[in-house]
Symmetry: D2
Subunit: 162 residues, 4 copies
Amino acid sequence: MKDKLTFIGVIGGGEVSSQVAGLAEEVGREIARQGAVLVCGGLGGVMEAACKGASDEGGLTIGILPGDNRRAANPHVKIPIVTGMGNARNVAVVKSSQAIIAIDGSHGTLSEIGHALQNRIPVIGLNTWSLSIDGRADDGIIPANSPKDAVNKAIELINNRE
Amino acid sequence: MKDKLTFIGVIGGGEVSSQVAGLAEEVGREIARQGAVLVCGGLGGVMEAACKGASDEGGLTIGILPGDNRRAANPHVKIPIVTGMGNARNVAVVKSSQAIIAIDGSHGTLSEIGHALQNRIPVIGLNTWSLSIDGRADDGIIPANSPKDAVNKAIELINNRE
Amino acid sequence: MKDKLTFIGVIGGGEVSSQVAGLAEEVGREIARQGAVLVCGGLGGVMEAACKGASDEGGLTIGILPGDNRRAANPHVKIPIVTGMGNARNVAVVKSSQAIIAIDGSHGTLSEIGHALQNRIPVIGLNTWSLSIDGRADDGIIPANSPKDAVNKAIELINNRE
Amino acid sequence: MKDKLTFIGVIGGGEVSSQVAGLAEEVGREIARQGAVLVCGGLGGVMEAACKGASDEGGLTIGILPGDNRRAANPHVKIPIVTGMGNARNVAVVKSSQAIIAIDGSHGTLSEIGHALQNRIPVIGLNTWSLSIDGRADDGIIPANSPKDAVNKAIELINNRE
């Protein structure tokens, strides 16, 4: 297939402040503007705001759901993937993405960052976790200073890798 | 989202005769002609033939992959979902589909039929498994006599349920 | 570890007749008498009866649970494995067993038989599914005529393979 | 069952320094001395050292494996659980444990810490990750100053919760 799509994951808490939701929505918009497909966990908070942004710009949105019911997807998910696998679906969210943008974040987001870094999938962070071990900072998460910067970095990293 | 998509799963062996591949390709074509999205396990055999048929008609194809590598998808998969979960991905193939068309079939296909019937997702069969227990035939699998008949039955069952 | 344990899976419906429960309990007893460990899905019906039988004979019982709560295990499970993965846990039940005894059976049991045969794990059947495709009987399930016969066959198949 | 077992998870990198392996082995010994069952991912590094310690003290060890092959378990695993689910098995390691001891740590360990904290399973840390978000430290990981202290804290937390 000549016209290969690009898949960018957006991860973050299921319940977030309106400021964080605003960041996520703008990330979703920018992903769609650049012609990439948005992958997420399909529920609320960061996931819903990002899907809304992408959807408003005519982008394609994939929601990989933890439960058995496709109706649990937020209304901006175009393609629900129904796993019934609970938190294990986080692994599929991560692996289905060629780069990940982490926004703010809960402990579920932390698990996804761990899975991504373990699988050498780039993680770009906006207001998200800082990690250190034994006093050494982990430089796994690439900082971004705006939604547009985050998406630019994600696409650049994907293109360099291909 | 007003324009909800319809998702039809196609399951069957990863290595099949050309006659079975022909059936699968025609099922894929008909799914696309009727405007539905094709869901499958993303690999070869029935999965590849069905994706080729759907893709040739301009349809959307989703391949839910067992491994860690998106390049393992057959070339007609538009949206690869990368799970890294091995055979457990069969559950996501089934649950992401609103009806399933089973063609011919291996033991992996049998596992998917079991998961579908357990979750009350309709299964339409073309040249596939017959099941009985204690001498009683199980009527879980709905027989179809052609690819077009199979897709018609799938869509009718989905519409009746919604 | 010199003293390697032998693991036998018992699969079957979560709600069964007292006659079927009697068969399952006797299978569990025989597994324990022969010094093997019983693996199952940890819930009711065939699983509970088999665990009761094994436990009464002092055997070890493992229940691989679909949900998030270890208290959902039947009271005769000594080692609950908590997956939170729903039906995908069926795959772990199968792969953790060196041979499987299928008793009676629901559609969930059918999915487990499919996963086992796909992974070349022997399946011994007691009053369970019969499978055929295109008029040909599938000889994947090895018939047994009693609980003791089923366990003997399971252990013989495991020993021959090692 | 009156004699309920206690399950403590030990997580950490698959390749570690001899100093870290020493800590893990002592954690395993202490778990066994206190009569608890050790749960881990079944492979090398921290997992193997902890299993060796527990096994040397006569304790029971469970290894929840990512692959399809039970022989991939380290030699001190008494009960291999074979999932074939890759990184998704991390979720089962976490949920099968009533408390987790994290030692040193790789990005896989980080994913397990995230899954544990999301599921309100206590995490005790020995030389492991420090987490902060927006400059605020996350207090999810309970620090321990020795293997014995870590196991004591795990058991106390489990007993308080029951």
